[in-house]
Amino acid sequence: MISLSQVGKRYPGGYDVLRNISFTVQPGEMVAVTGHSGAGKSTLLKLIAAIERPTRGSVVVNGQNTSKLRASAIPYLRRNFGLVFQDHKLLFERTVFENVVLPLQITGYERKESGKRVRAALDKVGLLDKEKTYPITLSGGEQQRLCIARAIVNRPAILLADEPTGNLDAAYASDIMGLFKSFNQVGVTVIIASHDNAMLLRLNPRLLRLDHGELAS
C-alpha cells in the first residue's frame, strides 16, 4: 500500500533530514513513527502525503510514485489520506460542521448524503452537539478531535497523524489514541508520528524508530 525505498530528503543548504529510509506498510497496519524531535518524523509523513517530494529514492502509494506524479494528479492522491495535524489546521471562520464537510465538498458529495456523513464523523469523535459552534470556542482536545473528524469523514484508507497528542494532557491524549485504535480495528491503515513513546506503546503498533534521519530498528 505504501512503500518507501532508499528515500533521502535533503533540504536546501545540504542538510539531510532523512537518509536511506526503506519500509513497506501493508493495508490495515498500525504503524508508529517515533524518535527525538528533529529526527525527521514530520518530514517522513509529508513525503507519504506528497506534501514534500524525496530528493532520493521513491515513495510509492497505491502503486503511484509520488515523484513522478503531475501536479494535477496530486489532489487525487491526497484523497486517499486522512490527515491529522498537531496544529489542527482548522478554519476559524467556518463552523464545526462546515469544517468537517469541506473534504466532502471537494470530492463532490450530494448535500443530503454529506450531511449524514458529517454527523456520523462528529458523533464518532463526540462533537455532535457542537456542529453549529465555531472552532475557537472548543478546547484544545476538542479541536484535535474536530481535526480527526475532518480526516475521517471521507472514509480514507489511510490515516496519517503528526503528533496528534502534542499539546494535550494525558487524559485527552489517551482519548485520542483510543480513537485511532478504533479506526484501525475497522481496517483503516494508521500511521502516527509521535515522540510520546509511552502513549504509543498502548496501541501495540509496529514501531519505526528514527534516529537523526535514519531508521534505527
Partner: protein, 302 residues
C-alpha cells in the same frame, strides 16, 4: 455533471458571501469599475446619437442645382435632358419652386414669415446624386453643371455630412482608446482585489490543498468574485449612463422647445447594454483569472 453544477452554485454562494463580508470594500470596487466603464460607454451613447442625427440628414453627398428664377419650363426640360444623358449622374430629382416653398413652410419654424411673402422667392431646383461620390468626381461634376445655361447656382451639399462622418470616426477611435485604457485599469483593479482575497484566504487555500482539492476547485470562487464584481460594475455603469441621458434630455427638452425642433437623446439599445454588462463581467473574470493563476501557485502547504 450534477456535481459540476453543484460546485458552481456553491462557488457562487461563497463568492457572494465573501463580497458581503466586506460590503464597503466591495461597493467601492464596484463603483470604481462602474465609473471607469461609464465614461467610454456614455461617450459612445452620445456618439451614437450624433450618428443617427447625421444619418437622418443623409450621409451621401449630393449636388443642388438652382436655376434662375426667370427659367421657363422649356429650360427645365432641357436641363432634365442633359442630366439624363450625363454618364456621371446616377439619378436626380426635380424640385419645382412651389413645392420647395410648401416644404419650407412646413419643415421649419418660420412658417409665419413665409406666409407673409407676396411672391415665391425660391427658384426651381434639381437634386443630383453622382455615380462616383469621391470629392474629386463631385467637384468635376459640379464644374461641368455650372457651365450649363440657366444654372444660376450649383452647390455641393452634404460635404459637411462627410466631414461630420470623419469627425465621428475620429470620435470612435478616441473612445476605443479610452475604453482600452480603462479596461486595463479595470483588470488591474480586479487583479489586486483578488490578490488581497487570496492572501486573506491563505489558510483556507492551504487546508483545501492538503485535503485534496484540485486547482479548479480552489480557483472557482475567486473567479466568481471577479466576474460578479465586473457584472455589478457594468450594471452601475449602465445606470450612470442611463441616468445622465435622462438628465441631459430634460435640459435638451427646454433647449429644443426654444428652437422649436424635436431632438432627444436615445438610450443605449438592448444589444449595446448587454455588450456593456457582459464585457465588464468578462474583464472582471480576466482580472481574477490572471491574479489567481499568478498567486495560487505561491501557496503550497508546508
Amino acid at each position: 455533471m450534477k456535481y459540476w453544477l453543484a460546485h458552481h452554485v456553491q462557488s457562487m454562494r461563497l463568492a457572494l458571501r465573501r463580497l458581503r463580508q466586506n460590503p464597503f470594500a466591495s461597493l467601492l470596487n464596484i463603483s470604481v469599475i462602474g465609473i471607469a466603464i461609464s465614461l467610454p460607454s456614455g461617450l459612445y451613447a452620445l456618439l451614437r446619437n450624433l450618428e443617427s442625427l447625421s444619418g437622418q440628414i443623409g450621409g451621401e453627398p449630393q449636388i443642388s442645382l438652382f436655376l434662375g428664377t426667370q427659367a421657363t419650363p422649356a429650360d427645365v426640360a432641357q436641363i432634365q435632358l442633359r442630366l439624363k444623358n450625363n454618364p456621371s449622374v446616377r439619378n436626380f430629382q426635380f424640385v419645382p419652386r412651389d413645392k420647395a416653398l410648401r416644404e419650407l413652410q412646413r419643415s421649419t419654424g418660420i412658417g409665419d414669415v413665409v406666409q407673409s411673402l407676396t411672391q415665391n422667392p425660391l427658384p426651381d431646383a434639381f437634386i443630383i446624386h453622382a455615380k462616383n461620390s469621391s470629392a474629386d468626381a463631385l467637384e468635376a461634376l459640379r464644374n461641368e453643371i455650372s457651365s450649363w445655361p440657366n444654372a444660376a447656382h450649383v452647390q455641393l451639399d452634404s460635404l459637411w455630412a462627410q466631414r461630420l462622418d470623419a469627425l465621428l470616426r475620429l470620435g470612435k477611435l478616441i473612445i476605443l482608446l479610452l475604453a482600452m485604457l480603462l479596461s486595463f485599469a479595470l483588470v488591474a483593479v480586479t487583479f489586486n482585489t483578488i490578490r488581497l482575497q487570496i492572501l486573506t484566504q491563505r489558510d483556507e487555500i492551504e487546508v483545501a490543498k492538503l485535503i485534496g482539492a484540485t486547482g479548479r476547485f480552489i480557483r472557482r470562487p475567486f473567479l466568481y468574485i471577479g466576474t460578479l464584481q465586473g457584472l455589478a460594475g457594468g450594471a452601475v455603469a449602465w445606470v450612470i449612463v442611463a441616468g445622465s441621458i435622462e438628465v441631459l434630455n430634460k435640459a435638451l427638452a427646454d433647449l429644443a422647445r426654444l428652437y422649436s425642433i424635436n431632438f432627444q437623446l436615445n438610450h443605449l439599445d438592448m444589444k449595446d447594454s448587454a455588450i456593456l454588462i457582459l464585457f465588464s463581467a468578462w474583464l472582471g473574470w480576466l482580472g481574477a483569472w490572471l491574479s489567481v493563476s499568478r498567486h495560487l501557485r505561491q501557496i503550497e502547504p508546508r
